[in-house]
């Protein structure tokens, strides 16, 4: 009997080991480890976002804390209030939420800060959803960056630009701006600067002229605008007019700057595009020279 068992055992030990075994085992061990790490990281940032959102929405203490940020002489300022991060081999997110402090008009201040937070909250949620669906379909690369830049901060005006860079293979950039009258404590809109809607045509025409001038001077520059002898424009892409609430800011010299997102008026390699509007072009239709000089 022992001999038979020996034979049986020998047969058992002779079961051939396939080459794939090593790979299967490694893969099984790795997969689990990676998934756990990612979940942990998401749970961490998610929790931080939730705590923060609840914090600013529900607690007057936290909302008021904005005004108590220690600054000398109540200077209106912009700072990074919160940063959301996801850092993985395939996924990258870095969202910087700006906040404005020391505005006397608290409802304006809170409104802006709320808006900045909501925007980033949405970006984060969208990014996470995209990431999850990508992961279900076998994984991929995804990146998002958001942040802000103070364009102008003088005694009269605060202009903030916010950017979002989405990276899925190629990247797209979206810009948004807020300009605040620090003395009157109001948010300045593009229409509010002008007497009537004629600014749309005036500015659009000026920008078209500039586009054509630039393209003629430098063959490397391309805008989606057509002119005799110019390159053909893809139908439907042609730049016709700025929007009523086109992105804008007021620069340090008191000049109006019109901004376009990547792909809006030009091919991707041109990036985001800006045009500074000379004040004499619009001086007739400006409500006043209070902001724009």
């Amino acid at each position: 009997m022992d001999k038979k068992l020996e034979q049986l055992k020998k047969q058992y030990m002779d079961i051939p080991i396939p080459n794939e075994l090593d790979f299967v085992v490694k893969k099984a061990l790795n997969q689990r480890k990676r998934r756990k790490r990612l979940l942990k990281c998401l749970a961490g940032t998610g929790a931080a976002a939730i705590v923060f959102v609840i914090g600013i929405n529900s607690s007057p203490t936290i909302a008021n804390a904005f005004s108590k940020v220690p600054v000398v002489a109540n200077i209106v300022k912009v700072f990074t209030f919160r940063e959301f991060k996801i850092e993985d081999k395939n996924y990258h997110a870095d969202l910087k939420v700006p906040a404005v402090a020391n505005l006397e008009n608290k409802s304006l201040e809170n409104g802006l800060n709320q808006k900045y937070l909501e925007e980033n909250k949405k970006l984060y949620a969208d990014f996470k959803a995209q990431m999850d669906s990508l992961e279900k379909n076998g994984g991929g690369h995804l990146g998002i960056d958001s942040g802000y830049q103070v364009k102008t901060n003088n005694e009269k005006i605060l202009s903030i630009s916010r950017y979002v860079v989405n990276t899925v293979g190629s990247s797209s950039t979206t810009l948004k701006f807020d300009t605040i009258d620090k003395q009157k404590q109001i948010l300045i809109t593009l229409p509010s600067l002008f007497k009537d809607d004629s600014y749309i045509a005036v500015i659009s025409n000026y920008i078209k002229e500039q586009m054509i001038r630039q393209m003629k001077a430098d063959p490397g520059k391309v805008y989606w605008v057509s002119y005799p002898g110019g390159p053909e424009v893809i139908p439907g892409m042609e730049f016709k007019s700025i929007a009523k609430n086109q992105n804008f800011y007021i620069n340090k010299d008191g000049k109006l700057v019109i901004s376009f997102n990547k792909y809006d008026v030009a091919p991707g390699y041109m990036g985001t595009v800006e045009f500074t509007i000379p004040t004499d072009v619009i001086s007739n239709i400006l409500v006043s020279n209070e902001y724009i000089k």
Binding site: M1, K4, L5, Q7, L8, K9, Q11, Y12, M13, I15, P16, I17, P18, E20, L21, D22, V24, V25, K27, A28, L29, Q31, R32, K33
Partner: protein, 166 residues
């Protein structure tokens, strides 16, 4: 917990061939056996917190492999599978292999509960207590099963050899 996870990963990496053979002894083909290995590792890592005694990783993990295999068999109709290689090596012309196929068949013919005991005790060299642990039975039950298994094997093999003699 981190420590247990590390020793589990080390255990699996170092003993993958044994794990594979154990799975193979149930499902009898390499693709399914590889699936069982993979599933077992997933199950093990996700239920790592159920390890009570870090020294018992071996029998804890064997239990997962055995249960995963049994689940798999339950989902399948019981068929005897002989792969191409086995068929060829046992093809007519090689004389003294009949015994082996009988032997193997004798083991395969045993009900699974007896076969598991034999495989774990004699082929994987587990102690009776460990076998009891893997199969979630008490020691006496395992002892009884082992004797019965050996008796059945002997009966079968003797019966077959008697036939052969005739």
């Amino acid at each position: 917990m981190k420590q247990i996870e590390n020793s589990l990963i080390r255990y699996i990496t170092e003993n993958k061939e044994n794990i594979y053979r154990l799975a193979y002894s149930y499902v009898k083909n390499s693709e399914d056996a590889l699936d069982i290995v993979q599933d077992s590792i997933h199950r093990a890592i996700s239920s790592i917190q159920t390890i009570k005694n870090p020294k018992a990783i071996k029998s804890w993990f064997y239990r997962i492999v055995v249960n995963t295999s049994l689940d798999f068999l339950r989902k399948q109709k019981k068929v005897y599978i002989v792969d191409q290689e086995t068929l060829e090596s046992y093809s007519p012309g090689i004389n003294d292999v009949y015994n082996n196929i009988d032997l193997e068949r004798a083991l395969d013919d045993l009900p699974i509960k007896y076969r598991s005991v034999v495989v774990l005790r004699y082929f994987e060299d587990l102690k009776i207590e460990e076998v009891a642990d893997v199969l979630d039975e008490n020691v006496n039950t395992i002892k009884t099963r082992l004797y019965q298994a050996l008796r059945l094997l002997r009966v079968k093999m003797n019966a077959e050899s008697v036939e052969e003699v005739k």
